[in-house]
Amino acid sequence: MEYEAVIGLEVHVQLNTSTKAFCACRAEFGVEPNTNICPVCLGLPGALPVLNKVVLSHALKVGLALGCSIQNRTKFDRKNYFYPDLPKGYQISQFDLPVALEGEVRIDTPAGEKCVRVKRVHMEEDAGKLMHDAEGSLVDLNRAGVPLLEIVTEPDMNAPDEAYAYLTKLKSVIEYLDVSDCDMEKGSLRCDANVSLRTKGESRLGTKAELKNMNSFKAVKDALLYEIGRQAEILDGGGKVAQETRLWDARQAKTFSMRSKEEAHDYRYFPDPDLTLFLITNEEIEEARAGIPELPQQKAARFMREFGISAYDSGILTADKRDAAFAEECIKVFPSGDKKPVVNYLIGPLLAEANSRGCGLSGLKLPAERLLELVSLVQKNVISNLVSKTVLKEMIDRQVTAEEIVKSRDLAQISDTSALDGIIARVIAENDKSVQDFRSGKENAVMFLVGQVMRMSSGKANPKVVQELLKRRLTDA
């Protein structure tokens, strides 16, 4: 049977406010346990919450950036459950009047652009953290009361890749807004996924499982892939998928049942009587809108327009805010109307280098003018593209200019035919088979010979010149 997966995501984003959502405690991390606490976030008897207005303005920005309609009336509700990391026995959240409704995120899929509808965006507070050791469990409430936004999609995704693309896009937008650092490993971005299967063509939704405990975008993708396989197997066997919450175990690469529908909490939501209804005026909405910077999609469109680069390239360059700023600087400074060489260098060797170092383009800490110098050395055939990669590494490691490296290590490209003649002769002599192949019509065989010349010249030979020389030698003889 062929199934279609139906996926919805719930993302929690920790807002980067300086103080907590409902008290004046600092919302910083990595400090001694239970030092950023007060009667309010400790849930001491008699203490009352007061909303941090920055939380609301961040929420408005996110809502607007996702194309949501901002609600003029919004309120907080209590989500009641017992857990030792939850000091009040309830979480302040939003239930039926969330701050923003009905937005969208556009993602690229193999079948083209797709719109994932955002159902709602709501504000809530985080819980504390439990730490377990042999003697028992300890509670750290530094995180209790830190503001979160929950962003919930409609079940609009049909493949794990689409979920991945959605998360990437969402993260990019939120980083642009500078309302969260979106670091999944630090827990400042968390994602739960709902997934169900249905027979292709069927419009009714199947029974869903809720997946938790994924701590990277890749884990979300892996967990979804696994879960789709698991559910398909059940359905193929004539069984029924149980509605339940399942935990992803990254080590075993499996999901495990955590609780069934029957065991699900009844959170007994009701309006928090300690917090009044919030009325958001149209002026406040416009003010928030004015505070929204250029977003990735807009920036990509502008790059295409201003720099004449492709949608694909501009998409890559604008995914990260800081990288986009670096790329824009490089492209602007590049002294030529045709930006292709610098763009290619950015998304080619530079991006590869950044990926290998696990950082973004801007994380390489390479001044734009130095990069441009390197690109122009390649353009002027002073060094080959290949050699430039070595030079790039050293520029980053030692914080020196390309020119210095090329000079001190004598890396300038050899285009002088007389200097190459000797090597070429040797390569022809030593690679009889390739020579025969070429002569019998296999044009590609020359590339192998070029490679040999490059190797023997420690990469310094100009490959174009070498190829020409080789062809001439081989046909002449």
């Binding site: 009667p39 008897p45 008699g46 007061v50 030792p84 000091p87 007994r268 009701f270 009587p273």
Partner: protein, 483 residues
Amino acid sequence: MELYSLTGSQLAELLKLGKISAEEILSSLSLRAAGKEEKVKAYVRFDGRLERLPGEGSPARGPLSGIPVSVKDNICTRSRNTECCSRILSGYRPPYDATVISRLKLAGASIISTKTNMDEFAFGSSTENSCFGPSRNPWDTQCVPGGSSGGSAAAVAADEAVLALGSDTGGSIRQPASFCGVVGLKPTYGRVSRYGLVAFASSLDQIGPITKDVRDSALLLNSISGYDPKDSTSVNTPVPDYTACLGLPVKGMRIGVPREYMVEGIDPQVREALLRSLEEFKRLGAECSEVSLPHTEFAVPVYYIIATAEASSNLARFDGVRYGFRTAAAEGINAMYSRTRGEGFGKEAKRRIILGTFALSHGYYDAYYLRALKVRTLIKQDFEKVFGEFDCVVAPTSPTPAFKLGEKMGDPLKMYLSDIYTISANLAGIPAISLPCGFTSGGLPVGMQIMSGHFREENILKLAYAYEQAASAGAESKRRPVL
């Protein structure tokens, strides 16, 4: 005249004239309490004397300088026991002062560190639901002082307190005030900060004064009122000098008497006392007419849904994890929760938590909680309509005078009906005062309630003061409990 028997404003006057000192007042009060506590049991953990909280930085000449204020056990006082008369908070000492306490310190008050007795978490109308045992009514120690602020009311009535703070969620200031023959005021919701008041039902709770007379009520209200940025439900509206309206003429004031309050269930002597009071108002030049608050009959059921729903959530934090009582031994977190809460809460607290949890449960929410909120709006509108035409509404405070200890403990419904006249003001968020308006033939005080529109405390105080002045000529006003 002993100092303990004077009112706050009388003491303030003597202090101002330099005739007495704050220490003399405190020691007089302390001796009085030492002599009468055994009978009244107004305070909890009373150790033979009353002491004041250290008042760092409090001015020597604040409006309440040197005047003792006793505080209900659900209002946080830094480093002093604040236990809500519940085992689950036994030994709990908050690290902060409630906003009302900070304000009283600023006003120079001598805040008594020993707390007054109450029903556990303010759940009750008799102070019998206290883990420390019941308080007694100073007029008849076989009777309850009312509740839940029974300790504060009894202390004021027994001259063991000069001024006292109570909290009122459904009548917990006014009903004990009426039972004990003192003055109790529940301010407008939002007038007094709730920060530091251990919540029972957050949308109904309000702190207010329990005092010997109306002037003291105004005096204490002056100091505790005002916007508090720490309480999102406190209202940022100016605080007038509430003593300024005392003595202003009440001629022409329009008084409504709700017909729904004068029907079955009301004790004939309470009814008589109220009717006599209305005659007095007329003599003072006020106009009295019958009005209708048609949704009155729903007030008690609506209240017991909203109040218990909020309470069930507010009391979730008492889980034994961070503070207060924790069961001696339990395997695992869920067992620890159940046993801690099972052993820590009294019977009435458990009853209300279960009721409230049920009302909020999936599948019942719409039928109970949501419906109750809608009816609450209707009750509010009843009052708005009446206050469009009338300045005040006058009604009995409680259908009966003080009842005997144990009389209603077996029947929670009967106990709940004891607040039938007071609950509506909390649901509507309006201010209401209870002041003495006579005695039963058995010598028990009867209270009368005056309500007005939001932030119209001055209407209430003006009318109550005028009545009190007029009644002071009579012999009844001189009666004191014999202890």
